[in-house]
Point group: C2
Chain length 337, copies 2
């Protein structure tokens, strides 16, 4: 049974293990520096489907099926699917849940959804409510652009603070048995609002939420940043990452030695404004790259902190600022593995 530690963190007594992982990304992501780590790279943005939305669902499905397969399990062994995506009414996850036929708990935490699903999933495993849980999220550049900003056909240029939504998905099977990586604690975040109103400056809106959750986790565990080999944000991008380091510094916490950002890494060296965003960004990079590095022994202990900007086009049009949230998942390589 889990125990609460400090004010916001929950620690697990029983094994909560990473048993399977899957990822599928688009062409551009495949061309980037992490291209070699992903399980599948689509040949184009449609991936054989007749709409971008249906293509996004295919990314979700491929990552999910790969995670279950790599866990050595069948769909019938999975007690719950926890997942979501950026689309209105999370249709990528919902339609995937229909096809996978697994009891489904739909989540919406914008780009924090992968961390949210791992937080809830870990608690359900530790509590004995499920043996195996599939956590998955997806995003797609073309579906996100037309829903949140402008259809691609308009050719609208992005400002320098803009980020490109990752086309891709990541999925993890967490399990009460089997797996060399272990979720040790989770910190569920509160919503933070820095007053940012520019939907093309998500990094600035989300950085304060990441800082708050990271500081809560460190304080609750009575740890320094160096306790982790890497503190990994989901998609703050280049500008948002700078703000994160700056805000943490103002709280006398130096994250510069351990901070990594999936949104910076996936398009590093490519001409992509401030980097990447989207639920599929953190989800695919965590599952493809960071879990591999941990399994290889290059990293022993990480804190995965996916951030989400909880705006809608309607709320922005009505003059609301952009509230954000971040959840943290603390994962370790098991001793002797």
């Amino acid at each position: 049974m889990g125990k609460r530690v400090g004010t916001y963190t929950v620690q697990f007594d029983r094994p909560v293990l990473i048993r399977g992982r899957g990822s599928a990304v688009g062409q551009e992501e495949g061309k980037g520096p992490l291209g070699g780590y992903f399980d599948q790279i689509a040949q184009d943005a449609m991936w054989g489907q007749d709409s971008f939305e249906k293509a996004e669902k295919r990314f979700f499905m491929e990552a999910a099926k790969k995670a279950v397969e790599s866990a050595g399990l069948g769909l019938k062994d999975i007690h719950y699917l926890l997942g979501g995506d950026l689309l209105n009414q999370i249709i990528s996850a919902s339609y995937s849940a229909r096809d996978l036929d697994i009891p489904f708990l739909g989540l919406y935490g914008a780009c924090s959804s992968m961390a949210e699903s791992l937080c809830i999933g870990s608690m359900l495993i530790d509590g004995g409510f499920a043996q195996n849980i599939l956590c998955a999220t997806s995003s797609h550049f073309a579906t996100a652009e037309r829903q949140f900003r402008y259809p691609l056909e308009l050719g609208t240029p992005k400002p320098p603070t803009g980020q490109d939504t990752v086309t891709g998905a990541g999925a993890t099977v967490i399990s009460a048995e089997q797996g060399d990586l272990e979720v040790k604690s989770v910190t569920v975040g509160r919503v933070v609002d820095f007053g940012i109103k520019d939907a093309n400056n998500m990094g600035a809106a989300m950085a304060p939420a990441a800082v708050q959750t990271i500081l809560s986790n460190l304080e609750d565990l009575n740890a320094d940043p160096g306790y982790y080999d890497a503190i990994i944000t989901g998609d703050l991008g280049i500008f948002g990452s700078d703000i994160l380091l700056d805000l943490a510094g103002k709280n006398n916490v130096d994250l510069s030695g351990v901070h990594k950002d999936c949104g910076k890494m996936i398009f590093e060296g490519m001409d992509k404004n401030c980097g990447a965003s989207g639920c599929g960004c953190g989800a695919s990079v965590l599952n493809a790259y960071f879990f591999k590095k941990m399994l290889d022994g290059d990293l022993q202990r990480i804190l995965f902190v996916a951030t989400g900007a909880l705006l809608s086009p309607t709320s922005v049009q009505q003059g609301e600022s952009i509230p954000s949230i971040a959840h943290a998942v603390h994962i370790e390589r098991r001793a002797g593995k």
Copy 2:
């Protein structure tokens, strides 16, 4: 620690108690036969706000604050807020979470969200991860019409199978201690697709999901429908309720003696097509009416089965059918109370 029973159900060993409840509804709902049960009735659809969306958030906030107050707690005593709504990116819940400053896990299960939040919340309480959890959902006729169908200004008439989205919200505080009602088991649903493509016939789309989850719960608990004093669906409406009884009958299960539908009840005797829908429907009627009836001793054991239609306007435009889901929450009056 919870234990799995049968294939889809989880039973709780430790007390998971209903400690607080709150509801707030619109004028029309207040005029209906349940009007006397709601905590607050707004004077109009705007409720002092400058947009329908901000009004919906006020319903969410009022119900949430009332639930916490009636639990005899402060906001700082609540470890998690689990909630969602029908709006894109669940902005009613997200902006409320910002103002309430409680660690937030955003959910999307369309009109099943209240049951989803109670399912997850109950597991987190039983697992020892939280002492008190606030579960809340909302909907609003005007925000839902313009997002899912037509803006009210167009005066578009509804077909006879149409349902009116409830303007209102309901909230429950579940707790590890204190409360006369107890969550005994939960059944998380799978997504069912009956092939319905008419977004004005949600009852037909959702009824098969309700039947599947009710049958799973009864089978897992090895119980007859009469085990419950009432099996309460969230918002199938008049036509959907008929389909429910019919489909259950085809499975040789007679639900006619115990079935109640919040969507039928809230507008009973009023001229409202097929009744009501929306997350706020089941949430407000459960908290205002059914919990009151249980506390009064008129009902001992209920199964609350909120259903959700997981469509989006985009998926419908792209020719997809409407997948649906239902989650069940089994609640009892505690012995000697």
